[in-house]
């Protein structure tokens, strides 16, 4: 038991170390942390997003930092309060999608044979069906709201993770330590849980982050169409109302610009975080950087042929 806890402690430290080493990843983590903080405590500081507080379509002013919507509500309040649901659905769906995809992927990759063939076919079909139309058609039959949005996002998003995890499971299955476990008579489930999954940690973490980015973006899209709960403030429904109230034709840019910036910031932050972990899982990417720096430090250029750095004389 202590043998398995010690590596995991090292694992945690490795992640934190990766973030500290890579400036982009650190920036990403900072952005993410600020938004999570905003989601948790922000609503306390702003007013009620649904309250009619002023004249519609007022540009930003001292009274309303981000102006008012087409209905006369405070844009800042809507943006801050919307952060909560948007992030919650984003993380929730990201996690659910990876869980579902990982289960299918591991079963498919490890079991092989007809189970694999059948599951792979299902995965491939879901991968090729266009996501948004499918999501719309399913969501339309269900009551509109965050739960429906989350459900259809999981439905349209799980297949990608299944495919990636399956590939990894297949590769791991060939490895020696798995063969050793099989030969020593360990049951299939134990092998999966103790040998295969722990070796996929970095992959799964990267997948969760990537899926969260997808979930936030896709969620905003569905809510923009009106499939979310339009009476509750989320980033997507804010855009829905902005479009509905003809913000563009009136020139009321403050009703949609802040929301878009939030979505991009969170998405970009997550991606930067992921790229920091990328070098953890793929050290080759960083190797060339050191080489280039070394050469430039000596006034040599990295050309096509192997560079020569010989001190003559």
């Amino acid at each position: 038991m202590s043998a398995s806890t010690r590596p995991r402690a090292e694992g945690w430290r490795a992640w934190v170390e990766a973030i500290r080493r890579d400036r982009a990843a650190a920036a990403g983590a900072a952005i993410l942390a600020s938004f999570v903080l905003l989601a948790l405590v922000g609503p306390v500081f702003v007013g009620d997003p649904d309250a009619l507080v002023g004249i519609p379509h007022q540009p930003p002013s001292a009274a309303h930092w981000l102006g008012t919507t087409g209905q006369g509500q405070d844009v800042l309040a809507q943006t801050v309060v919307g952060t909560r649901i948007s992030l919650a659905i984003g993380f929730g769906v990201g996690l659910a999608v990876v869980l579902l995809g990982a289960v299918v992927g591991v079963v498919s990759g490890y079991a092989g044979g007809r189970v694999d063939a059948g599951l792979s076919l299902l995965v491939n079909v879901f991968l090729v069906l266009p996501g948004l139309p499918l999501a719309i058609v399913v969501a339309a039959y269900l009551p509109s709201g965050p739960a429906t949005v989350a459900l259809v996002l999981v439905l349209t998003g799980w297949a990608w993770n299944a495919r990636v995890v399956r590939a990894q499971a297949l590769a791991l299955r060939q490895r020696d330590f798995v063969a050793a476990a099989v030969v020593s008579g360990e049951g299939a489930w134990r092998i999966v849980l103790q040998e295969i999954l722990p070796n996929m940690t970095s992959l799964l973490v990267a997948q969760v982050i990537g899926s969260t980015v997808y979930a936030i973006g896709a969620q905003v899209g569905l809510e923009f169409l009106g499939l979310g709960d339009v009476s509750r403030a989320t980033w997507g429904t804010n855009l829905y109302w902005a479009s509905n109230d003809s913000a563009l034709l009136v020139g009321a840019w403050w009703t949609f610009v802040p929301t878009g910036l939030c979505v991009a910031a969170v998405g970009f932050g997550l991606t930067m975080l992921n790229s920091g972990f990328d070098e953890l899982t793929n050290p080759r990417l960083g190797a060339e950087r050191a080489w280039r720096a070394w050469l430039l430090g000596r006034g040599l250029s990295p050309g096509r042929s192997t560079p020569v750095a010989v001190d003559r004389g």
Binding site: N124, G131, P133, A140, L142, L239, S243, R292
Partner: protein, 327 residues
């Protein structure tokens, strides 16, 4: 050839899956499928028309398998029911009016973004550490983090509303009639510039990054080292040896990305009130027009599947290993 046929078989399977999903969806939801589908038709349809409509969706009193076959028969004949939002036009007709515009818009945007992104990716990998490699990927990744339709809104606001460089929406001026003249083509191009532009800006980063990574991987492979050792001119090594091979993963990924990009394109259409499937979709959602919604889903799915198959054929041409059916 076996490869092409096998892929075709797969797409037919996926198409059947979509059809079947369409059949079961109204039946899986709580309540009576007929009321779900036809709630909005109340009082608008003559009794015979109602019966015909029920036939289209297989809502006869017969057993489930028989209903399924009835439904399939209608769908394969192109009978997708009657639209609520555009009553009394049949769904197939409504969809038909917008299909060409969507194919034009999304198709051009995807092809442009892929071509541009791929070229930039090759440049970034070949001149590693140069401008294309250091500046563009993070910049384009940042732009790609915005929802496509949001970029469309910004573009519309800045370049259309403020600067008045481009029109504010639609595919062509409201006072014109479509015709095959250069003047009309120019008009279409002017109206399509912003929508296509915003989709390209949003997606080019992804293509560039994947091409760059593939290129970097290929540049490290033995046959590129051999090409260099053979003393081949650098341009030949970059294009004929490296890029030709690095292109393959991008092409195989293209098909999958197509469905995703199409979703964003549909939302972009809405922002510009472009007369395509996206616009129709929003009308369908607003009016709870299930026949139209399901019809659009089906048609878009078939289009994406068809495009995927074409991409597979292109892959067959590009990669001699695929021709053996070993892919």
């Amino acid at each position: 050839m076996r490869y092409a046929l096998r892929r075709l078989g797969f797409y037919l399977l996926a198409a059947w899956f979509a059809l079947t999903l369409n059949f079961f969806l109204p039946r899986l939801m709580p309540g009576d499928p007929a009321s779900a589908l036809f709630a909005r038709f109340k009082g608008q349809l003559a009794p015979e028309a109602m019966v015909a409509l029920r036939q289209t969706f297989g809502l006869t009193g017969a057993s489930l398998p028989s209903q399924y076959l009835t439904y399939l028969g209608h769908a394969l004949r192109g009978d997708l029911g009657i639209s609520v939002a555009y009553f009394p036009a049949p769904v197939s007709q409504v969809i038909g009016t917008g299909l060409a515009w969507t194919v034009f818009l999304a198709g051009s945007a995807v092809v442009l973004a892929f071509a541009l992104g791929t070229l930039l990716g090759v440049a970034a990998a070949w001149w590693r550490g140069g401008l294309a490699d250091r500046v563009l990927p993070p910049l384009l990744a940042f732009l790609g983090a915005f929802p496509y339709f949001w970029l469309a809104m910004v573009a519309l606001y800045l370049l259309g509303f403020q600067l008045r460089w481009f029109p504010l929406g639609h595919a062509y001026g409201d006072d014109l009639t479509p015709s095959w003249t250069p003047a009309f083509a120019l008009e279409v191009a002017r109206h399509a510039a912003l929508p296509i532009g915003s989709i390209v800006v949003a997606t080019v980063g992804g293509w560039m990054l994947s091409m760059r990574n593939a290129m970097v991987a290929v540049l490290g492979s033995d046959f590129v080292t051999l090409a260099r050792a053979k003393g081949l001119p650098p341009r030949q090594v970059a294009l004929r040896y490296a890029a030709r091979n690095a292109l393959l993963p991008s092409v195989t990924g293209f098909g999958m990305a197509l469905g995703f990009v199409l979703g964003g394109a549909l939302l972009t259409e809405i922002v510009f009130a472009y007369p395509g499937q996206g616009y129709l979709l929003v009308q369908a959602v607003r009016n709870q027009d299930y026949p139209l919604m399901q019809g659009i889903f089906l048609v878009i799915t078939l289009a994406v599947l068809g495009a995927n198959w074409v991409v597979d054929l292109v892959n067959l041409w590009l990669d001699p290993r695929a021709r053996e059916g070993s892919a």
